[in-house]
Symmetry: C2
Subunit: 349 residues, 2 copies
Amino acid sequence: MVSSGRKAKGSKAKNLVPVHNASVTSIEVAKHAGVSQSTVARVFARPELVSVATRQEVFRVAESLGYLPSAIAAGMRNQRSGLIGVVVPSYGEYWQGVISEFSRQINDDSRQLLLTTFRDAQGVEGAIRSISRYRLDGLVLASSTIGVGQISRLINSSMPVVAFNQPDAANIAPQVVVDNQQGATDIAMHLIECGVKSVAFVGGVAQASTDKLRYRGAVEAFSAQGISCPYIQAGAFNYDAGFKIGAMAAVGNQLPDAFMVAADEIAFGVLDGLRKRGVRVPEDVLVTGFDGVPQSFWEGYDLTTLVQPIELMVTGALKLLVEKNSTDSVIVEGQLRIGNSTKVRNNHG
Amino acid sequence: MVSSGRKAKGSKAKNLVPVHNASVTSIEVAKHAGVSQSTVARVFARPELVSVATRQEVFRVAESLGYLPSAIAAGMRNQRSGLIGVVVPSYGEYWQGVISEFSRQINDDSRQLLLTTFRDAQGVEGAIRSISRYRLDGLVLASSTIGVGQISRLINSSMPVVAFNQPDAANIAPQVVVDNQQGATDIAMHLIECGVKSVAFVGGVAQASTDKLRYRGAVEAFSAQGISCPYIQAGAFNYDAGFKIGAMAAVGNQLPDAFMVAADEIAFGVLDGLRKRGVRVPEDVLVTGFDGVPQSFWEGYDLTTLVQPIELMVTGALKLLVEKNSTDSVIVEGQLRIGNSTKVRNNHG
DNA sequence: ATGAAAGCGCTAACAG
DNA sequence: CTGTTAGCGCTTTCAT
């Protein structure tokens, strides 16, 4: 399992200059460049305040020595680290997109992402303690399963906090959410247009705030049409939980016209579970999701779903972190995406 | 799009104590506890050196003030930040698992994950510069598309670096990889046992080091059996690229017995592309993947693939970061997982 | 077992 | 435009 070793270094001497040698400080650069330490510091922090000649010389020396200013020392001095903490669940297709979007936008703003993922809500409080010691410029708490109590103690701290996709946080902290209820209504309206007469709503965990809102949006739209819409709990926001439902579920011993599922990943499981026992989608039953993860667009699923505008939501979250005074919520609209998992039913019954 | 505001605080006064107030320093705690600043510092850094009574009192005061020691100041003093940098591609099913495993193991060791994701290799060098300023305890470079040149300048820096899944780095930096060639051979042997007489290898990008090794493993196994195995380049390591291949590909105007695909995510596309035009898997053609991402196990794909032992690989990478002296590579074996995308062929031809 | 003091590398007045 | 200086909050000798 272990083998081979390192051999030759880079072939050209030029390449041997290290990208960064952390043991080189501004003092050393100053000596070599024949200027003061503060001039070196200024060259990197506020180059416009230094004459072009000096600036170039300092850059040259710094480059040759592998000097880069220490973000740790700067963070100490500035009382801000340049780090944004993001706390998200370990798994779930949805979160990968969120993480990479946060990463991109944070880096674009020349800051860095301190990421913590968690499997269950238990560890979240400790995780927050640990990362808050880094004097974060801001903290993003994601997931509808983080307790509101944990947030309320945080907002009193000196660090800006924003809740991401956690409707429960509405009156406690600044937050960014997709309009879950409206999105569910949009999907329900689409199903109504497809001509469904009975629907089963498949949720992940009934206590989750997103589940509640999505179910509420569904119920309100359907009940106005006299369509019943019982809630079935999958038990988790993942594929396996959905698969069990799809493979077994029959409401009152017969299939509903549609399964409206609270999250795409669960919906993939429902779809596969249904297909496993020979039920065709959309011929025999319609299926919808929520989130708009990449797989929704894959031919194998091609799911009707509500696409969350993640880029916009991340932008909003980072903006709320800066506008400390703002206590407003940002509620963005999702976009209905109609795939091949729904179609107008020929009501042959 | 913007609505509502924050209202009541927590209902119990007890909850109003902030988790952490960054403006409280050890000096303030010391005053309130009637001890010196260094005693407060010791209580948190080396509690065993302080009497139980003092320790408890300091903890009590600290808690009531919302004090937590600053990791930034400690990092400055200690010349180490407690941060591990991880640089990975933005997208790809495989990487989500890698990220969350790094997160878990790094946190378990009470350190923190500084994550940077990148879309194309161009930005990687700048990203590395940015994060190395945080005096990282170590840096993990992942992906077979990071240039070797970038790594070679890094290993000369003071910071421990390890390459993750980048076979090209073999003689340049400590690295952790799955045994790509052996894994490909394992898959090829399985296909041979299935009775295939012709195979098309679908790669992502021909220049990628993982592609090369996986193709080599395939070719060696197949050629020993007199089975040809042309290389088809999908052009990217993603679903869409695979879909195009699956939807169009016919080698010499007819299907091969099997598509051996270089990565699961591409394979999902190939599968869906084939199905789209009515080709059945595994009845008409066999398909295999590589990586063992979660979706491989989903019923809709149920892919024969080589599962990478990510937990083990991450453990190995973090260990290499500590053992600075070690220049060895860690090469782990993947595990063949046989799904429903392959079966023994009845050679009716 | 505790306190005093030095200093990690930077930034930002302030002075020249 | 550049140099001098005083900390940021912690850890760690070195005394006591």
